[in-house]
């Protein structure tokens, strides 16, 4: 009986893994097909699509644009999110739950709704669509993740650490910079990578708030409209490998840092 269960669970697990990964495997495979048309059978293989992606200045500059947006949005998000976390953690004051709720909200609002809301708001404020608007919307969207991750880490900092620093002559600011901040670094790095990936991946906000220059997902979307070609598979594969590598590295890094202290 136990044995039967185990076999069933194992089969179920692998079926699930296949279900999740088959589309990805197909996508990657097609990027190496020596033909303009996607689909089986594959008669010959090539790296030409990759060569064309890496020599296409439009694609490269779009990639750079997306990365720039991700980095800027992350910087803002980390600053604001950490600040909120430090303000809220371990303190009791009236309205704490309200602030908490408002902080988490942007993560829960559907992308399309927040994109439209941002679009309207940006017009009201006279902000042109473009990089600034995209960065702003991405930052707002990712602040909750930073705030929650940093708060979780902060709640595990023993109070005696800060007291010891104060005891040895540190005023509250020095204690924060020399004790609290180093303690938060693993959480901040983890949250930053996460924010960057979210921003890099975002389509809806970038689409609604973008100007003439597209971000990578928006460019892929535009290319799709003019017909599917293995070039898109190649772009997507490069993006996939990069994000997966960064994501896995960040996860392991955070885990190691958390274990050390």
């Amino acid at each position: 009986m136990m044995r039967g269960n185990r076999i069933f669970l194992t089969c179920f697990y692998w079926a699930f893994v296949l279900y999740v990964f088959i589309p990805l495997i197909l996508m990657i495979t097609m990027g190496f097909k020596d033909s303009k048309f996607i689909g089986f059978p594959i008669r010959s293989w090539t790296l030409d699509w990759y060569a064309s992606v890496f020599s296409n200045t439009e694609i490269l500059s779009t990639f750079g644009y997306s990365v720039t947006i991700a980095v800027l949005a992350t910087l803002i998000s980390v600053f604001v999110g950490t600040w909120i976390a430090v303000l809220l953690e371990g303190r009791k004051f009236w309205g704490r739950m309200v602030i908490m709720g408002l902080t988490v909200m942007p993560a829960l609002v559907p992308g399309i709704i927040s994109a439209i809301a941002f679009r309207i708001y940006a017009r009201l404020l006279g902000i042109e669509p473009g990089m600034g608007a995209i960065v702003w919307s991405h930052a707002v969207h990712t602040v909750p993740f930073v705030a929650l991750v940093v708060m979780a880490r902060l709640s595990t900092l023993p109070k005696s650490q800060i007291e010891a620093a104060r005891d040895l002559g540190a005023d509250p600011l020095i204690a924060f910079v020399r004790i609290t901040l180093p303690y938060l670094i693993p959480a901040i790095i983890g949250a930053s990578i996460f924010c960057m990936l979210i921003s890099f991946d975002d389509f809806v906000r970038s689409f609604f708030l973008g100007g003439y220059e597209p971000t990578l997902p928006v460019l892929i979307f535009a290319k799709l409209r003019s017909g599917m070609s293995p070039e898109i598979n190649a772009i997507a594969t490069v993006a996939l490998v990069l994000t997966a590598a960064i994501g896995i590295w960040a996860e392991r890094f955070t885990r190691r840092m958390n274990k050390d202290s």
């Binding site: 010891a164 040895l168 002559g169 303690y183």
Partner: protein, 361 residues
């Protein structure tokens, strides 16, 4: 400033947490170079007192005077007081040396001064070999020494220690107790030590302040507290004792005379002597009861029957039933040899009036 002024003066300090009264009008002086121990059961306000001295809590009322200056509202970083935390609170991302230098840097000491002082204190506490290690790579005892080194490095006027030995196993604990005491002697610093372990308090302190429910129960030398406890609480909290319930009879030659189930006993008088006829309790330590074949010439003597013996290694605990005192019992420590010979015949036990403390109550 002469050495006569107390280093610390706690003046009528109370601390309330909501409805909880953690400290109730505490007044206490601490002299320079003293090893003072705060002893009491869990929740009696020991940590609260320490935290008020360190500047981590503000008293609800009262004042704290440090070296003649009112520091009641001063934040911790302004006080010449350092603390060894119960969990040590070493900074995990700094090496031993960086931990120790932290307080020196913040004092504005120059690089060479920091180097010299941290080397000196590490050598003093035998930590020189561990300077580049992180706290996570040290044993419990080593961490404890780092915490001590870090607190001593800035040369504080007063060192606060909140149950710093709690995390150590029994053997290491004994060693570190001796070490701490000798460090205190060698540095000639004022140590304010908190523990709920009475043995630890007795072995280490110049002076013990016994706390109970936010109030000072008794304040004195370890010998004082042990042999002349002022209250039932102290008598029972420190060591093992015989409690004798009787009735006050009066005074005679500076001793209190009491009646204990028909036996007249003489004891050490408490500060506020009770009225004649009032019920009183006296405490006499197990090792103060002497065994004799004949009636001894001590102030107190009763005859008893051995009803139980417990072998404790170097000595033996003997339980006696006193027939002349309506079958009341006494427990005594005797050396193992005497313990073996007594048993069959009734024995006489005697004790001085000074070794029996009449308790306040």
């Amino acid at each position: 400033m002469t050495d006569q002024t107390p280093l610390v003066r706690i003046e009528g300090v109370s601390k309330h947490f909501g409805d909880t009264v953690a400290l109730d009008n505490l007044t206490l002086d601490i002299a320079r170079g003293e090893f003072v121990t705060f002893l009491g059961p869990s929740g009696c306000g020991k940590s609260t007192t320490l935290r008020i001295l360190g500047g981590f809590e503000r008293p609800t009322s009262g004042r704290v005077i440090l070296d003649g200056k009112d520091v009641t509202t001063q934040p911790p970083e302004k006080r010449q007081v350092n603390m060894v935390f119960q969990d040590y609170a070493l900074f995990p991302h700094m090496t031993v040396k960086q931990n120790i230098s932290f307080g020196l840097e913040l004092k504005g000491m120059d690089k060479r001064g920091i180097q010299r002082r941290s080397d000196e204190i590490m050598a003093f506490l035998e930590l020189s070999a561990f300077g580049d290690r992180y706290p996570g790579q040290l044993s419990g005892g080593q961490r404890q020494r780092v915490a001590l080194a870090r607190a001593l490095a800035p040369n504080p006027a007063l060192l606060l220690l909140d149950e710093p030995l709690g995390a150590l196993d029994a053997k290491l604990r004994g060693q570190v107790q001796q070490e701490l005491k000798s460090i205190q002697r060698r540095t000639n610093k004022t140590f304010f030590f908190v523990t709920h372990d009475q043995e630890e308090a007795l072995t280490m302190s110049d002076r013990i302040v016994v706390m109970n429910q936010g109030k000072v129960e008794q304040d004195g030398t370890p010998e004082d507290l042990y042999f002349h406890p002022a209250s039932r609480f102290v008598a029972e909290f420190i060591g093992e004792t015989n409690l004798l319930s009787g009735e006050m009879r009066g005074h005679e030659d500076g001793a209190v005379v009491m009646d204990w189930f028909g036996q007249t006993l003489r004891g050490h008088a408490p500060a506020g002597a009770p009225r004649t006829g009032a019920p009183i309790t006296a405490s006499v330590r197990l090792e103060k009861l002497g065994f004799h074949a004949e009636r001894p010439a001590t102030a107190n003597a009763v005859q008893g029957k051995v009803v139980g013996k417990t072998f404790l290694g170097s000595r033996m605990a003997v339980d006696l039933m006193i027939e002349d005192a309506q079958g009341a019992t006494l427990r005594a420590f005797v050396d193992a040899e005497t313990g073996q010979t007594v048993g069959a015949d009734p024995v006489w036990v005697g004790w001085d009036s000074d070794s029996m403390a009449v308790l306040r109550d």
